[in-house]
Amino acid sequence: MSVRLPSVNMSSENIAVLKVQDVLLVSVPPDPDDPTVSALQERVLEAMTRHDARGLVLDISTVQTLDSFFARVVTETVQMVALMGGRTVVAGMRPSVAVIATQLGLTLGHTETALDVDRAFERLRGPAPGSPAARPIPHGPR
């Protein structure tokens, strides 16, 4: 059976905030503890200003457990980034996580989502949903 891993106290240094053109890409670690989730929010907001980014892709493809605390911090972060003038796409939610999030009643508010990081970047190249220009824009073959 699976081996019980020692509980690692992750620090915010383990969270990589990458800048890809004018978008930040943040990969959430697989099983983040509460302080890590909170640290992630701080790092993201700070990086938004420092890099003058216009968007954020939050990659949660390795996350196995999305509970109400994590969901609240994600929803809050999306709102904070929006207040700063940025746009967030949450990418890569696992099927099992989507099933449980729905059953638990977690909706992530009106957060934009994408199947994977590629599609998230694609989304950010287009207009925000609800904006007057929100119509499909061709951006060449994927």
Binding site: M1, D34, R72, I100
Partner: protein
């Protein structure tokens, strides 16, 4: 919930076991306990419960349901009571095998359990989804709580 299509493999192996695992099985894959005293114990509980549920034969979706409920209820212990204990063990009922988790603390207690089960109700900073959400994720849930004395919550999920 009604029982149907129990999985052959884990049932055949476990149906003959006594309802309460012997002390020797205390920290086996499907039984054990963890004291909750710090935030990092939430992660430790999630890992231990994930292993226990997988060892019993639960599929990925059910394992995720159980782990998410455990995460919510363990965080409640830490946030509202400061400390407590989480226990897990395999249980059997009417030819079914399941996993039972107990969350016990001696914190302030829940003054109005019915109110606490309403989605969106919270006395803390959370979203008020922990208790009602955990109930939806599991097959059974019982709450015993008395103001000033603490709270004991039992949740069960049956293999089918």
């Amino acid at each position: 919930m009604t029982a149907m299509n129990p999985k052959a493999f884990p049932l055949a192996e476990l149906a003959g076991q006594p309802q309460s695992p012997p002390e020797a099985a205390f920290h086996s894959a499907s039984g054990g306990e963890l004291p909750i005293t710090s935030e990092s114990d939430i992660i430790a509980t999630r890992q231990a419960v994930r292993n226990a549920a997988a060892a019993l034969g639960f599929g990925l979706i059910d394992v995720t349901r159980i782990v998410t409920a455990a995460s919510e209820l363990t965080r409640n212990i830490y946030v509202y009571a400061g400390s407590g204990i989480v226990r897990w063990r395999s249980v059997a009922k009417a030819g079914l095998v399941g996993l039972e988790l107990t969350f016990e603390d001696h914190g302030p207690g829940i003054p109005d359990v019915q109110k606490a089960m309403e989605p969106g109700f919270t006395t803390g900073r959370g979203m008020g989804l922990g208790l009602p959400g955990s109930k939806r994720l599991m097959d059974e849930m019982t709450i015993q709580s008395a103001a000033g004395q603490g709270t004991t919550i039992e949740i069960r999920k049956w293999l089918r």
